[in-house]
């Protein structure tokens, strides 16, 4: 059994999962709907998880406050969309897209600036001290949630969806939500952009090297602390983008939106492998698909199944599916 497992290409795990699910679900249309929903959910989780994975891998920082960026991203996007109501609900696709860009852009900009502040003021003093990192970032998370409660109140807020992302398209008799397709494509575009930055640019090379051996990067003449700030800002901005997209997906948000997602985000980071964008994508798709398939097949097991998935993968590959550090 173990030799067989060791020969499996981890990249085909989502396909294996989908095939097994198809056999269990039985209905092709239900399977397509669940698969698209799982992929869309996976891509939104990927947005939230990719930055955390890099922060973990490069900076060795256990940032339990990451979900604050998800929550703020969701609420800022929701407020921006509400403020641009006429653009959001109008018939013009251009204005719809402009409203969405403004909302997601505002969330991303906030995430980047807040990430800079968070790294400089909260994380920097506790580098190399995991216990203090956990305590201080959890403290910051609680404060952030209280701030959201103070600004937006505790009543769930509805998030208007831009008109061009409402409704469904029918393919082969199966209705697929436009928003899910958009979320999938946006996640894919972000993945490709991250992949190109990490693999085709000098700063990407430095980040990949830094994930493996920070000290050696410094000994080669590079200021790793500057890289830390850039990665933290990018990671926080991506979390805010994920929060904005998740808010539109859910339609109704509370100050706990980030915390509720965080368990899935941590599962993705752990099963994907620290510091690995490819691992985060793979883990996110597995978690998204598993969540949707199990919610259909055995709703009461939904969260437990993702935990079991994490445990199974860690028993099989203790460093995750696609760890960044090798040898």
């Amino acid at each position: 059994m173990i030799p067989l497992l060791s020969r499996i290409n981890v990249n085909i795990l989502p396909v294996i999962l989908a095939v097994i699910a198809f056999a269990l679900i039985g209905s092709a249309s239900s399977w397509v709907t669940l698969t698209v929903a799982g992929l869309a959910m996976g891509m939104m989780i990927f947005l939230m998880a990719s930055g955390l994975s890099l922060i973990f891998g490069l900076m060795d920082v256990l940032n339990f406050g990451h979900s604050a960026f998800v929550s703020f991203g969701a609420f800022i996007a929701a407020s921006a969309l509400a403020a641009l109501g006429a653009w959001v609900t109008g018939d013009s696709v251009f204005l719809n897209a402009a409203a969405l860009t403004a909302a997601v852009g505002a969330a991303v900009a906030f995430g980047a600036v807040a990430g800079w502040f968070f790294e400089r003021v909260i994380v920097k003093p506790v580098y190399k001290d995991h216990l203090r990192q956990i305590l201080i970032t959890m403290g910051a998370l609680v404060i952030s949630e209280q701030l959201i409660l103070m600004i937006w109140g505790g009543v769930p807020i509805s998030v208007p969806r831009p008109a061009f992302l409402t409704g469904s398209i029918v393919i082969g008799g199966v209705a697929i939500e436009v928003y899910r397709i958009f979320a999938f494509l946006l996640g894919l575009a972000v993945y490709i952009a991250l992949y190109l930055v990490l693999n085709r640019t000098r700063i990407g090379l430095l980040i990949r090297a830094g994930v493996e051996n920070r000290e050696m990067v410094e000994a080669l003449g590079f200021r790793i602390d500057r890289l830390f700030i850039a990665v933290f800002m990018a990671g926080s901005a991506l979390a805010a983008m994920g929060g904005a997209m998740w808010a539109g997906y859910q339609g109704l948000i509370t100050p706990m939106i980030g915390s509720e997602m965080m368990i899935l985000v941590f599962i993705v980071v752990i099963i994907g492998g620290l510091g690995s964008i490819e691992g985060s994508l793979l883990g996110a798709i597995l978690v998204g698909l598993t969540a949707n398939y199990v919610a259909f097949l055995a709703p009461k097991l939904s969260l437990a199944t993702n935990m079991m998935l994490m445990m199974a993968i860690l028993l099989w590959r203790p460093y995750g599916l696609r760890p960044a550090v090798k040898g």
Partner: protein, 239 residues
């Protein structure tokens, strides 16, 4: 000959332990200067203190008449000091090419230097696009040294490069170091006395965090009683 590097009464603590107890020695410009000592004598700590990876509590590290004791590691590296740590510091997930490109100041190779480096270590060309984790121990060491010389450096600090390597690879390494030392000063930390003797012009012996001997390598190599006293070894034991 003028000193390119001077350590003056350097004290370094690691946590609660006082490891270096007033290290002082000069590394002359050009050739290979060897820092010899037994396990735990303080050799690695000395190199790491020079690189700023551990901070000297007292004393001074002077490089080209400039006090670099308080400088950050990247600033020290940019002065023209390369460091090859004992664990080689290879980035396993990066290819051989990416490992070497990272050590260039602009991200672009100087073709002449690259050709010269690949001529010294032909295996690097063969495994150019291979991820470094897949290399053998000797190849990883070659990559670590290639990275240190891919651009002109004034000083290269190398920590026990022969550790765990086969004799044939060590012989190749000796030739390569001789070639590198034509243009760059090497401060070599070693336990392998035969290797050190074949390369070094000057030597300092460290024991228990203190320099117990400095002088010409030829003098130490010729004096077996001195070797035994300083290092508890004899050449015979290494032959």
């Amino acid at each position: 000959m003028s000193a390119i590097l001077r350590l003056d009464d350097v004290h370094t603590d690691i946590g609660q332990y006082h490891v270096l107890h007033g290290i002082s020695f000069d590394v002359p410009e050009g050739g290979v200067f060897v820092l010899l000592g037994r396990n735990g004598a303080g050799k690695t700590t000395t190199l790491r203190t020079i690189m700023g990876l551990w901070r000297a509590r007292r004393g001074a590290v002077i490089f080209r008449h400039r006090d670099i004791t308080a400088l950050r590691t990247p600033d020290i590296a940019r002065l023209g000091i390369a460091y090859v740590p004992e664990n080689m510091g290879i980035f396993g997930g990066l290819t051989v090419e990416e490992n070497m490109r990272l050590a260039t100041s602009t991200g672009a190779f100087d073709r002449t230097r690259l050709d010269r480096t690949l001529a010294l270590f032909p295996a690097m060309e063969k495994f150019w696009t291979t991820q470094a984790y897949a290399l053998s121990g000797g190849q990883k060491q070659m990559l670590a040294i290639s990275r240190a010389i891919i651009e002109r450096r004034d000083l290269i600090l190398i920590d026990e490069p022969t550790k765990g390597l086969a004799p044939a690879i060590i012989r190749n390494m000796i030739d390569a170091f001789r070639e590198i030392a034509r243009e760059t000063t090497i401060l070599l930390v070693e336990q392998n006395f035969l290797f050190a003797r074949s390369l070094g012009s000057g030597v300092a012996v460290i024991d228990d965090g203190r320099i117990v001997h400095t002088g010409a390598m030829a003098d130490l190599a010729a004096d077996e009683a001195l070797q035994t006293r300083l290092l508890s070894l004899s050449l015979a034991a290494h032959q």
